[in-house]
């Protein structure tokens, strides 16, 4: 009984902590810009506000627009239920496939992109077109990077990958992991829609990708979309840490060490958020048609990672 409860706790932890991660990124960015910035708890206040607000929905929107936030939220939670956070065993360990994770993100993106077109707004459709394009370039990189880690441990099951990475620390010293880490970091930036690929804060319609598709949402549905995006951000951080920085993930999932592991993983997430904010502040947003170059650099890194793995 206790393992299942812990697994559920793991899911609730990531769902609950994801707005805080967003808050920390925002606070750090504000600090670096010399502003005071909103409190790190602001995303929680936002969520409460969204959930209690009445909605304005476009007259042109169909049922697809109305169900999308629920589909996106549900698929994101399905990914949360597969991903090891502070212990390797998860609620859906038996089906926790790498491929499934990527395609579930794809499912959420598919529906978001359709809802962007649905209202007839050009901004939504523009964001949708750009998001699908960037994802088409990012997907092969994501897969090769994940494979760079999954190949030496010979499995595509997330729990097993994490278990084997945690127990075989020797792997972490090989150049494969450094290169895969770099490629992965570029992907985390891309997938979470941060500078230099996308700008999550801008209100200039022409620069936005992900925010463009959410433009017509309001109230509860906007809240769900935002929360899903924050969850995805926390998920990408966790995935990176599971694969490349696996210290402190509990193998047994019991005992007093579990609490220490829990705290350690939480601290890692916070540090990751601060690092991402630093990276975001040190770059300017690049032109849209420069993104392929950035991603091909990441692809090259991951391919080199794989080649070194076979040659060394």
């Amino acid at each position: 009984m206790i393992p299942v409860l812990l697994e559920i706790l793991q899911v609730i932890f990531l769902i609950g902590v994801s707005p805080l991660i967003q808050g920390i990124v925002k606070k750090t960015k504000a600090f670096l810009q010399g502003r005071q910035g909103p409190s790190i708890w602001q995303p929680y206040y936002d969520l409460r506000k969204y959930m209690n607000k009445d909605e304005v929905v476009s007259v042109h929107a169909s049922w697809l627009f109305l169900i999308t936030p629920y589909v996106v939220f549900a698929t994101t939670i399905a990914v949360v239920a597969m991903l090891p956070v502070f212990m390797t065993h998860t609620l859906l360990s038996f089906t926790g496939q790498l491929v499934l994770v990527v395609y579930l993100f794809g499912m959420a993106r598919f529906f978001t992109a359709l809802s962007g077109i649905d209202t007839g707004s050009s901004f939504g459709a523009m964001g949708s077109s750009r998001d699908m394009f960037v994802s088409a370039l990012a997907e092969p990189v994501l897969f090769t990077t994940l494979l760079a880690v999954a190949l030496p441990v010979k499995t595509t099951n997330l729990t097993l990958i994490t278990e084997r990475v945690v127990s075989g620390h020797a792997l972490l010293l090989s150049p494969t992991f450094y290169l895969a880490f770099l490629a992965f970091f570029i992907l985390v930036i891309t997938e979470t829609g941060r500078i230099p690929v996308d700008n999550p804060d801008t209100h200039l319609e022409l620069t936005m990708i992900h925010e463009g598709m959410l433009l017509e949402y309001s109230g509860k549905r906007l809240g769900l979309m935002m929360w899903s995006a924050w969850m995805k951000q926390a998920l990408m951080y966790t995935l990176l840490m599971d694969f490349c920085l696996p210290w402190g993930i509990s193998l047994e999932g019991k005992g007093p060490m579990l609490i220490a592991d829990f705290v350690f993983v939480f601290l890692k997430l916070v540090v990751m958020a601060i690092v991402v904010a630093f990276v975001e502040m040190s770059y300017a947003k690049i032109r849209f048609f420069r993104i392929p170059r950035l991603l091909s650099a990441a692809f090259a890194l991951s391919m080199i990672a794989i080649v070194t793995e076979y040659l060394l």
């Binding site: 304005v56 042109h60 496939q97 359709l114 209202t119 459709a125 699908m132 097993l160």
Partner: protein, 669 residues
């Protein structure tokens, strides 16, 4: 029921398809008999196929011709059973759909000819698969090509249709030449034309390679592999939509059947480069197919390009299987072959569904141009729902069937990457995974684009505004396929187990499938378990929980409908994003491949105050510019040279004859 009865029934059904088809065509009446025959024989095919899949193979020779070489003979085994199953399922729903769809042509064209054509087409396809010797195979293959050609040029008044039909008939015959040669070489070395005694053990390696290459070209033409694909995007879209569904969903799978027959069953093991070549061609086909799909405005043409892409993926899987066979890894070879078969069945289901959906839109709006559609989700909610399910399946979104097939294909590529044969094979496998996933993401973009610009936003033309829901038979046809797409995704185990039979027949490997969690015990290190139903249940539970929490802590909110924000103005249909606009980033980023060109010409008004423009944007096909045009030009140049000796005078021709005679006499002596 024994397998011989299944075979007899199937052959009888083929005969009745052809006879009833001819009867309907000749009498030009009684179309309803044709409709009924289509539905009943398809059901019969499904039944025979299931029996054929489960019982030991049977072989029968039914009619002897004047010469020993021309005996018609048929056989039923698990591989044939699988393909008959594909034909039967798609044929069934396409026939039901056809009852409603042919009303479109009432008064304009002869409906009975169309109905009989579809019926004969179904019959000839089954006869290709059941063929038991070279003669029967080639005759059925030709009949299938010719009947499909006639169906393609059904609306032959249009110029576009004529040229499409012409290119199709030329390309398909080039393909037939190659595969005739490859069959005859095998027959020569095994001393028989019958498939069940084909024996390539005594064949020299050079001949094997030749047979392999010719089979690849011959069947690759039918499958639409790049660069032999140029007929497919022309011919498939111009046919009536349920025929397009049959051609894209089923007919190109006949090429896959033929390829498996020749390479996996007859040649068995080849050098590693065979597999590498096939998977490279598959990868290039997949990527180019989807990039071209993204550039199309014509909805059915875009679907045709997507069929090319899917055949590419299937051939990637077959190639990986060949590599495993050459590396003596029989279990993985069997697994990759199974993955290809699963994807072939899935593609048959969702591609037919998408073609039927496009046909429904076409019949109600009379346009295939996605830039002129839009907003019809409110007018055609059922069609929109089914098409969305098809789009989700083809984009491999869980929990639909497309995901199961792609997951298996990725697992087999992953298996190749972790097989410790040679580092280069592993790196090659990773590159394949890269190409595969990029294709996958572009497919998702292509279908967001096509669904979005057809069904969502505002109607961009009057015909889109006046659309209404498709007729009942059409809806039933689409509903059946959509239901199968979802069911085979959620509960894949039984289906995949069934498809394991032909794989066992070819490779002698039985893959053990874990019945509770979809997974394969033999593919141990991949730990491939997949349970989409539990993922779905987790998501649904999470949603219920969320709803409960929101009810507990939140207040009831209301919803107001307002106009979409359009920077202060009124939103007009012209302001909405079109399909062309949507794929602009792809066109720009891949301009080296797609080579888009545009011309803007002023037709009215002065230079400074133009009042009317003509804007043309088009793509130059890579294959046509760099492969076909030079070949055609060379042929024409040769013809021009040869023409010099043709002066039209009888005397000179007599002189040629005389000279030839003398030369022959000297040579013979």
């Amino acid at each position: 029921m024994s397998s011989s009865m299944a075979l007899d029934t199937a052959v009888a059904l083929v005969m009745s398809c052809i006879l009833i088809g001819l009867f309907v065509a000749v009498t030009r009446r009684l179309t309803y008999i044709g409709h009924a025959a289509g539905v009943v024989t398809s059901l019969g095919f499904v039944f025979c196929a299931v029996v054929g899949l489960f019982v030991p193979p049977q072989y029968v020779s039914i009619a002897h011709g004047a010469f020993a070489l021309t005996a018609l003979s048929f056989r039923m085994n698990a591989l044939a059973g699988f393909f008959v199953l594909v034909i039967g399922i798609v044929g069934l729903f396409a026939s039901v759909y056809g009852i409603g769809y042919v009303r479109e042509y009432a008064g304009r064209k002869s409906i009975s000819l169309l109905v009989s054509g579809v019926l004969i087409f179904l019959g000839t396809m089954v006869s290709v698969v059941l063929a038991g010797n070279v003669f029967t195979f080639l005759v059925s293959w030709e009949c299938m090509s010719i009947v499909s050609f006639l169906l393609v040029i059904y609306e032959h008044e249009q110029h576009e249709v004529q040229s499409a039909g012409f290119i199709y008939v030329v390309m398909t015959h080039i393909g037939t030449v190659f595969l005739t040669i490859s069959f005859l070489i095998i027959a020569h070395y095994s001393g028989s034309l019958s498939f069940h005694v084909m024996d390539t053990n005594h064949m020299p390696d050079g001949m094997k390679t030749l047979v392999f290459l010719f089979a690849l070209i011959g069947f690759g033409t039918k499958a639409g592999l790049v660069p032999l694909h140029i007929w497919l995007p022309r011919a498939h879209p111009v046919a009536p939509s349920h025929v397009s569904a049959l051609m894209s969903g089923v007919m190109i799978k006949m090429a896959m059947y033929g390829f498996i027959l020749v390479v996996f069953e007859f040649l068995r093991v080849g050098p590693v480069w065979w597999g590498i070549l096939v998977s490279c061609i598959g990868a290039i086909t997949a990527l180019l197919g989807v990039l071209h799909a993204l550039a199309q405005r014509d909805q059915k043409r875009m679907l045709a390009y997507s069929s090319i892409e899917n055949m590419g993926i299937i051939f990637m899987g077959l190639g990986v299987s060949l590599i495993f066979t050459s590396l003596h890894a029989p279990i993985f070879a069997a697994f990759s072959l199974l993955a290809s078969l699963v994807h072939a069945l899935n593609h048959a289901l969702f591609k037919s569904l998408l073609f039927l959906g496009a046909g429904a839109v076409l019949s109600k709006t009379h346009t295939k141009n996605m830039d002129r559609l839009g907003g019809i989700i409110r007018k055609m909610p059922w069609t929109a729902g089914f098409t969305l399910m098809g789009a989700l399946s083809i984009s491999a979104m869980p929990p639909f069937n497309g995901f199961v097939g792609e997951w298996m294909l990725l697992q087999s590529a992953f298996g190749l990457a972790t097989s410790e044969h040679s580092p280069w094979i592993s790196v090659f496998a990773v590159l394949m995974v890269g190409a595969f996933t990029m294709t996958g993401a572009l497919v998702a973009m292509a279908f967001v684009r096509s669904f979005g610009s057809t069904f969502l936003a505002l109607p961009r033309s009057e015909s889109a505004q006046l659309a209404n829901e498709a007729d009942m038979p059409m809806r039933i046809g689409m509903a059946g396929l959509a239901g199968l797409c979802l069911l085979t995704g959620l509960f894949p185990t039984r289906w995949v187990e069934m498809l394991g039979r032909p794989v066992r027949e070819i490779t002698d490997v039985t893959l053990i499938i874990n019945p509770f969690r979809f997974g394969f015990s033999d593919i141990e290190h991949a730990n491939g378990h997949l349970s989409l139903i539990s993922v779905l249940m987790t998501s649904v539970l999470a949603l219920i929980f969320l709803w409960w929490i929101l009810r507990l802590v939140g207040r009831r909110t209301s919803m107001v409908r307002q106009e979409t924000w359009a920077c202060g103005g009124m939103l007009t249909p012209l302001m909405t994003y079109t399909a062309s606009g949507y794929s602009k980033p792809v066109r720009v980023a891949f301009q080296q491949i797609l080579r888009p060109s545009r011309t803007l010409k002023r037709t009215e008004g002065s230079v400074y105050f133009p009042s009317k423009f003509v804007y043309v944007s088009k793509f130059t096909s890579f294959a046509e510019t760099y492969l076909y045009r030079p070949v055609i030009q060379t042929v024409l140049r040769m013809a021009r040279i040869v023409r010099a000796i043709q002066n039209g005078q009888v005397q000179s021709y007599l002189a040629y004859l005389f000279v030839t005679l003398i030369v022959i006499l000297i040579l013979v002596k």
